[in-house]
Amino acid sequence: MKIAVCIKRVPDMETRFKIAASGSSVDETGLKYDMSDFDGYAVETALQLNEKQGPGETVVISLGPDVVQEQLRKALSMGADRAVQLKSDRVPADGLAIATALAAELKSGGYDLILFGRQAVDSANATVGPMTAELLDLPCATAVSSLEIANGRATARRELEGAAEVVEFSLPAIVSVDEGMPRARYPSLKGIMAAKKKPLEVRPAQLGEERITIEKMELPPERAAGRIVGEGPAAVPELVRLLHTEAKVL
């Protein structure tokens, strides 16, 4: 199968973020970056599908400035065949602007399957995949935790709050990938060397109009200090009372 995987470069989410002086973006000083976690699952899914089903091609696509090539090469070192950078100075906040550029790239690619992570772990919008599907008029299954493909049709399982649903659709299609799918493999050292020789094309991103911009960012308020109500079994009645009357969680 010819599979495209759209990936995003995101900051390491373990970082203690600071807001930049502008007040509307994150201070990037000292940040480390990686491929968004769910996108890693998506790359792994594509590689395993093609490994299982015989000859195919896995193409990874990322939109942004030249630094995204690092994440594209990571996907190449995992085993993807080639990469495309849709070059833009920055990654817009408006998912539709990004989806427009991706749709323009994917439209004539002849892909059987287009994979996304469920959401980018930094912006957490979960919009670009479904929007791209809409623009390309393709079926779309989101937050998929398992995926079977046979005879041009796909069966996917979606984990819901307290339940699961199984959906079926024809290919080509767009699928966004959730946990439950195989975790990204370690890029092997040979893979890292081989990635340098794989094709990485750079094209200008044909971004759509940006109608959403980030006005302001703020950190969550500091949590108030905890309170110790007593020690040992003697404290339990008071704890239960406070959980009832004050925290109102019981």
């Binding site: 000292g30 990686d34 690092e70 090469r73 990571k74 070192s77 370690y186 890029p187 092997s188 050292l189 040979k190 893979g191 890292i192 060397m193 340098k196």
Partner: protein
């Protein structure tokens, strides 16, 4: 740990990618089990296939022999990350790559290279390196293990080796021996010895209080008959095994930084979370002094090894430069580990924390592959032109 000195900016994207991959492997597959392995005194054989798949064995040897073909800085970063897990894991990889695969690559015949290197890169054959003898540690030239050539060109090997990492699980041993009754160190040659050859025995050395997650063995050769092609054809004299040691010492200079980084990180986390006298102990000047010194020494060691790697990659490296790095970095790593252990107070003696494990390991690393003292004398000789050895 935090890249305080922005040393990452001196690394290529490829070098950082190699480090990231090995780092993730160590975090996910080694750190969760290594404390128990250490207490149980066992090397975690279960990680060998994963390490092989990642490609760490002989990673700086060429692709045509099934290796990754990385540069030496990348190789060093691999050693750093492995030893951030445990010196025993890094020792395993050092022996496999620098002390067994390297001599086969450097001194072996094309047949030996094609037979062994791909299988060793794949972790299918584990190797060990026999140079040190019970009575000849710092002075390997004095070795008494002897191989005598027979009329038909085959060899008969007799002798014993000690302190051999991976010795009891190795399928192949690189054994260094004097030849044909000649007691000078010029007669030393390397032999590729399958460990199932009759007369070859390996016995675990028990009672180690250091490198407990690593196999250390004694090898005995009693009339071990070897075919003609067991010899490493391009080996000759004590210089050959010393070249292997230069490779391994290079990796060690990087590796111990990893152990020091693990201790520093543990100490920093502890210092900022452990409360005593109503404040985090990191707020006390004594602990800040400890942390500041640890950080400074780690940064200096990183810069030494990185520059050493660039020298190696440009073919300008000298063994004396490797001695400087091995000596300095092992020394500061043992100090960092000990200070971290002390900062952790009573908790620092538990296997649940890594610092005392690293501290005990590093005493071996300080001692093997040329003791600290021997590297001091190598440097002394290099700068004065006067040998303190004889």
């Amino acid at each position: 740990m935090q890249d305080f000195f922005d040393i990452d900016s001196a690394l290529s994207e490829e070098e950082r990618a190699v480090r990231a991959s090995v780092r993730q492997f160590v975090d996910e597959r080694i750190l969760p089990i290594i404390g128990d392995c250490y207490v149980e005194g066992r090397f975690p054989n279960e990680i060998i296939p994963g390490l092989a798949e990642l490609g760490v064995f002989g990673a700086n040897l060429p692709e045509e022999y099934g290796c990754a073909g990385l540069n030496n800085v990348s190789y060093g970063l691999i050693m750093q990350e492995l030893e951030r897990g445990d010196s025993g894991i890094r020792s395993f990889a050092s022996v496999q790559g620098a002390l067994v695969m390297y001599p086969i690559f450097a001194f072996g015949s094309e047949e030996q290279k094609k037979h062994y290197l791909p299988k060793m890169a794949a972790g299918e054959i584990i190797g060990c390196f026999g140079l040190t003898e019970p009575d000849y540690g710092s002075n390997p030239s004095g070795m008494i293990t002897m191989a005598n050539e027979q009329a038909d060109g085959s060899w008969v090997l007799n002798g014993a080796k000690m302190w051999i990492t991976n010795g009891s699980q190795a399928k192949v041993a690189i054994v260094w021996a004097k030849t044909n009754g000649d007691k000078s160190d010029k007669s030393i040659r390397g032999f590729v010895v399958p460990t199932d050859t009759p007369g070859f025995t390996a016995k675990d050395q028990k009672g180690k209080l250091s490198l407990r997650a690593s196999d250390t063995s004694e090898l005995v050769f009693q009339d071990v008959h070897l075919p003609k092609d067991a010899i490493l054809p391009k080996s000759g004299g004590i210089k050959s095994p010393l070249m292997c040691l230069t490779q391994a010492r290079y990796g060690i200079s990087w590796g111990v930084i990893g152990a020091a980084m693990a201790c520093y990180e543990e100490a920093l986390t502890y210092a900022t979370s452990r409360v005593m006298f109503d404040k985090a102990i990191g707020g006390f000047q004594l602990q800040q002094q400890r942390l500041a010194v640890m950080l400074t020494e780690i940064v200096k060691a990183q810069l030494v090894s990185l520059h050493l790697g660039r020298l190696k990659d440009s073919g300008k490296l000298t063994p004396q430069q490797v001695s400087l790095a091995k000596r300095n970095n092992c020394d500061i790593a043992t100090d960092v580990a000990r200070e971290a252990r002390r900062l952790l107070g009573a908790n620092g003696i538990l296997a649940e924390y890594a610092s005392m494990r690293h501290m005990a390991n590093l005493e071996s690393v300080y001692t093997y592959e040329g003791t600290h003292d021997i590297h001091t004398l190598i440097l002394g000789q290099a700068v004065t032109g006067l040998s303190a050895f004889n």
